[in-house]
């Protein structure tokens, strides 16, 4: 049992292969209740996860589900099926392998429930759905092993929490179930192991040979990087030269919009017509599949992409990764670099292209961190309660349950080991009756107890609704984009509804690398026509806005201890020296606050290095304080390191603005009414099952009968401020969009030390911020004033039109 089974050993021998040491180690530990493999891409990681299953099934063939494989991507499940089928068929094993995802047909799914394959490949959501069926115990009867692939990616979101709760359920249904986790390089393997294992089982960790150190550098360019903005268009000639010098190049961008703009520019300069393509999450599925297939076939020389290619299939012959824009996070950079050269013993090759002068500093710091193998990452918090609420509802769909037994089961899941009984009871109460301070719905509870005290759905028909709402992935409200008159033709992709609302017929934007002209909105589809040779309006549809990690920010701040920077390009070093001469360089243990006048407005610039989301929140909090003080704030713009605020009157003394008590009070009271908090609430309320996921079809017919989650949020704050969901929202706001935890981190490291520098003119560091996009106007009295002015202007125009002289 601790070595290869005969037919597989024979297959390895025929191939002339030997087991990698980590594969042998995984096989030797096949009986461990849980084990985690940390290995770079390539190196037979997936096979290492499956070998114990294949050997067991060869030695003791038997019908029924033996191994469950869970991956974050549907495409990966399909790909693994292909890759695993090869050794199974060539070794002559009688093992049935099938995938089951959102794309699997209804009949196939039904058959799988009645007659499961030996190995089922699925996603966390499809697994949760299977567990919601009454016949779940039958489907999973006999299950021996579960393999969780790309667990590092799953653990970064609530999908990981949902999966761990599902595994806890599975372990209950199948005592003796063994868990295997496969992970890319992470900063804290022990924490990942604890997350994976059933509490308090031990979890063995296998560290595969990471291979040779990556070959990574900044791409030298003839043109200097610009002072602000993103996109890296200045580097196009050098990028094309690199594409020509390599077989296949992946060009990563941080946002979809930047990927589109870069791809468009690259295409215009592509005089030799190299086959290049674009791949990101807003493109239609058909488009993405086409690109993936061309890539596997080796038909592409370069793919401009976003995080959509961070995971997944072995993309053949990628021999260069180019990262455009600051990587923001060292761990993700290392994982991206790993996409190049999947051959085990060759170094991965990567080039960084900073998009502006400040990013040169950030890239420099990131390169240092990669060389020092100093990975960043935030410790995983306790398992979120909104996901727990959904899990309780899913459990109820499968049949009646006892609260005590469910609590015991849940506290065996990674992340939930420290869950208090009080919190569990609050979640159960929320699922049952909404958990409101005011008793209501006694007749209409969602869950109620039977005579023996077991909890069950009051109305079994509710199961359908719960299943439809399952999952933790938040879709933003997007609209499909189609060519006009392309009756039922393929969509080009999707844009955010808010972006579509800003479009006027005739406006042009980029989609899938082509310029399209907005024609109109038809039902829930954006209709466009092709447009050639016109400069597009920027496509501002969503792309994840990553915040620069705490650790990388700290490294950048350490660079500022110096007074000379021989390793940085000349213009960048000169810029730092100029900032040092005119003002200060920001320091980790002090806050730099600059004040200056520019174009008749008072400007304030705070360098807090807390990451983009927290800096945005800081902007909201500071402008609110300034409004209270009558300084007339007009707007602000935030980056990963600074927030620049403009106002009618200058800030004379920043210390009271930055007083921790005020900031925290602002978070608790005023910020709580802000749109970002409402978005946070909406996400949690959807996951917890208070509101339904909005499907596009529903929105169409919903109209005035559906009301926004904002109304529920405001109502709860007014009448039930201690409600469970508001607690969850506050907890969520410490991370994510609001990221107040980073503000706390900043307060802790600076401990009230503020350097206020009043300058006769704009400072070198603040100058590029004036050109940043993403300005936030300050709403409040200001909005009423704007509205009054707008109303007057529009009305007077109307009067003029109606009374022509």
């Amino acid at each position: 049992m601790h070595s290869l089974s005969p037919a597989l050993a024979d297959w390895f021998a025929r191939k002339g292969w030997a087991l990698h040491p980590h594969q042998a180690e995984m096989l030797a530990r096949a009986q461990a209740p849980a084990q985690l493999l940390i290995a770079p891409t390539g190196g037979g990681k997936t096979l290492a996860g499956f070998l114990p299953s294949l050997c067991d099934l060869e030695r003791r063939p038997r019908p029924g589900l033996h191994t469950l494989y869970v991956s974050p991507l549907k495409a990966l499940a399909a790909d693994i099926k292909r890759n695993l089928t090869t050794p199974v068929e060539e070794a002559g094993l009688d093992i049935r392998i099938e995938d089951r995802t959102g794309d699997t047909s209804y009949t196939q799914k039904r058959r799988q429930r009645a007659d499961p394959p030996h190995i089922l490949l699925t996603t966390p959501e499809s697994l949760a759905l299977l567990l919601s069926y009454e016949d779940a115990p039958k489907i999973f009867a006999g299950l021996q092993r579960v393999v969780v692939d790309e667990i590092h990616a799953l653990s970064e979101s609530k999908r990981g929490d949902q999966l761990m709760l599902a595994l806890a359920r599975l372990s209950q249904l199948c005592p003796g179930l063994r868990r295997v986790g496969l992970s890319a390089t992470v900063e804290d393997p022990e924490a990942m192991a604890r997350f994976l294992a059933r509490h308090p089982d031990p979890c063995a960790i296998t560290l595969a040979d990471p291979g040779p150190a990556p070959d990574i550098a900044m791409l030298p360019c003839a043109a200097p990087a610009p002072w602000s903005g993103g996109g890296g268009r200045y580097a196009i000639p050098e990028v094309i030269a690199q594409i020509k010098a390599h077989k296949t190049t992946l060009i990563f961008h941080n946002t979809r919009a930047q990927a589109e703009i870069f791809f468009h520019a690259l295409w215009l300069e592509n005089s030799e017509s190299l086959p290049i393509a674009i791949h990101h999450g807003s493109l239609a599925r058909e488009q993405r599949v086409k690109v993936e297939q061309a890539m596997v076939a080796g038909a592409l020389r370069a793919i401009v992409c976003t995080g959509s290619l961070d995971l997944g299939i072995d993309w053949g012959d990628v021999d260069l990764v180019i990262q455009i824009g600051a990587p923001k996070n060292v761990k993700r950079l290392v994982q991206r670099i790993g996409r190049a050269n999947h051959r085990y013993n060759a170094p991965s090759k990567a080039l960084l292209v900073p998009a502006n002068q400040f990013e040169i500093i950030e890239c420099h710091a990131a390169l240092e961190a990669v060389r020092a193998q100093d990975l960043d990452g935030d410790a995983r918090g306790a398992g979120p309660l909104d996901v727990l609420c959904q899990h309780i509802l899913i459990t109820a769909c499968a049949g009646p349950f006892e609260a005590d037994a469910l609590f015991a089961e849940i506290t065996s899941a990674g992340g939930y080991e420290t869950l208090s009984r009080a919190d569990f009871d609050a979640c159960l109460e929320f699922c049952a009756s909404g958990g409101y301070a005011l008793r209501a719905y006694d007749r209409w509870q969602r869950l109620r107890q039977d005579a023996s005290g077991r909890w069950q759905l009051r109305d079994p028909r509710a199961a359908r609704q719960i299943r439809m709402n399952l999952g933790t992935i938040q879709d933003s409200d997007t609209l499909k984009v189609r060519l006009k008159h392309s009756r039922g033709g393929k969509p080009l992709g999707e844009v955010e509804e808010a972006f579509a609302a800003t479009l006027t017929p005739g406006d042009t934007f980029l989609m899938g690398g082509q310029v399209v002209r907005y024609e109109g909105l038809r039902e829930m589809t954006v209709e466009v026509s092709r447009q050639t040779g016109k400069r597009p309006r920027i496509a501002t549809f969503m792309g994840t806005k990553f915040a620069t990690s705490t650790q990388l920010s700290a490294r950048i701040l350490r660079l500022f201890h110096a007074t000379d920077w021989p390793d940085l390009p000349g213009p960048t070093a000169d810029w730092l020296k100029l900032q040092l001469a005119r003002s200060h360089l920001p320091q980790a243990d002090r806050l730099l606050f600059e004040s200056f006048a520019h174009n008749g407005r008072a400007y304030s610039c705070l360098y807090a290095f807390a990451g983009r989301n927290a800096m945005q929140t800081l902007g909201l909090l500071l402008t609110q304080r300034m409004e209270d003080l009558g300084l007339g704030p007009l707007g602000f713009v935030a980056t990963d390191y600074a927030v620049l605020i403009w106002s009618v009157d200058p800030v004379e003394d920043p210390a009271p603005l930055l007083e921790p008590g005020h900031l925290r009070a602002g978070f608790e009271t005023w910020l709580a009414g802000n749109a970002v908090m409402k978005r946070t609430f909406k996400a949690s309320a959807t996951i917890a099952g208070l509101i339904e996921r909005q499907s596009p079809g529903k929105r169409k017919s919903g109209r005035q009968t559906s009301f926004s989650a904002d109304i529920l949020y405001d109502t709860l704050r007014k009448y039930d401020p201690d409600h469970l969901l508001l607690g969850i929202t506050r907890q969520e706001a410490l991370r994510g969009l609001v990221d107040f935890g980073r503000i706390e981190e900043m307060l802790a490291r600076t401990r009230g030390a503020v350097d206020h520098v009043v300058l006769p003119q704009i400072s070198p560091f603040a100058a590029p911020l004036l050109l940043e996009v993403g300005r936030v106007p300050v709403v409040g009295e200001g909005q009423e004033r704007l509205l009054a002015a707008e109303a007057e202007q529009l009305l007077s125009r109307l009067i003029t039109q109606n009374n022509p002289k």
Binding site: S433, G434, Y436, L438, A440, Y441, R443, W444, Q445, R446, R458, D459, R461, A462, Q465, A498, A501, T502, T504, P505, G506, E519, G520, L690, I691, E692, G702, R703, Q704, T705, S706, F707, S708, I711, L712, T715, L716, K718, Y719, D720, H723, R775, P777, V779, Q783, E784, L786, L787, A788, E790, A791, L794, L795, L798, N802
Partner: protein
């Protein structure tokens, strides 16, 4: 004062920031689409357990309006209750509150598509009401003259200095007034959409609710330029 005054028919009206319409000549407060009992109906019909405070909130805002205007007559323009059963199932506390507000006032329930029957709270129940040459009904009739209605929950969306705002609004032209929904758990229909866009005259105004109600030309969908 938190209201926009305008002339309609032969008299003056006040479109209030709350979404209520006040008719000084008749000392009448007109409200539409209260949707009382919406949370109860959602729980009953769909197993969704919304915060049970929507009705409290509607009545609290209504009481404030009654205090501010000292109205002697209240006209609910239909959909006062989310359905007939919701009217029967209102919590006793809400029922008591509503009866207290109704008190000695002349209270008229105009029926709507959600609440076609007379609610068990007294007051008069009518399918429409003609008063001083003006017809009050739930749903606007195309071609009607001098009509005040509700039903559509109109909202207006505006781009302002880079941000979008969307607020419930009154729609007003020479022949009709359409009220926004007064209910707490209500959404809205963008006034660019049909049938609102077709019902209203080209010169119609939208009065946005909020702290200081403001009149704007009613936002219209942009027409496609002919290529």
């Amino acid at each position: 004062m938190n209201a926009y005054r305008f002339g309609f028919g032969s008299t003056a009206f006040e479109a209030r920031g709350s979404g209520a319409l006040y008719w000084p000549q008749e000392r009448a407060l007109i409200l539409s689409d209260l949707h009382l009992g919406k949370a109860e109906r959602r729980a009953r019909r769909y197993g969704q357990v919304l915060p049970p405070y929507g009705d409290h909130d509607v009545l609290a805002r209504l009481e404030q309006e009654l205090q501010d205007t000292d109205a002697k007559t209240v006209i609910s323009l239909g959909d006062g209750f989310d359905d007939d059963e919701a009217a029967k199932n209102l919590s006793p506390e809400i029922g008591k509150d509503l009866s207290r507000l109704m008190g000695a006032r002349d209270w008229i329930w105009i029926t709507g598509n959600h609440d076609p029957s007379a609610p068990p709270f007294g007051g008069r129940c009518l399918s429409e009401l003609a008063l001083s040459g003006i017809t009050l009904r739930h749903m606007a009739k195309p071609g009607a003259v001098g009509e005040i209605s509700g039903h559509y929950h109109p909202k207006a969306r505006l781009a302002l200095g880079g941000a979008h705002i969307s607020r419930p609004c009154f729609l007003i032209d020479r022949q009709r007034v359409i009220l926004p929904a007064f209910g707490t758990y209500t959404g809205g229909l963008d006034c660019r959409q049909t049938p609102l866009a077709d019902l209203m005259e080209p010169a119609a105004l939208a009065v946005l609710t909020g702290q200081s109600p403001r009149a704007l030309p009613m936002p219209r969908a942009k027409r496609l330029r002919q290529a």
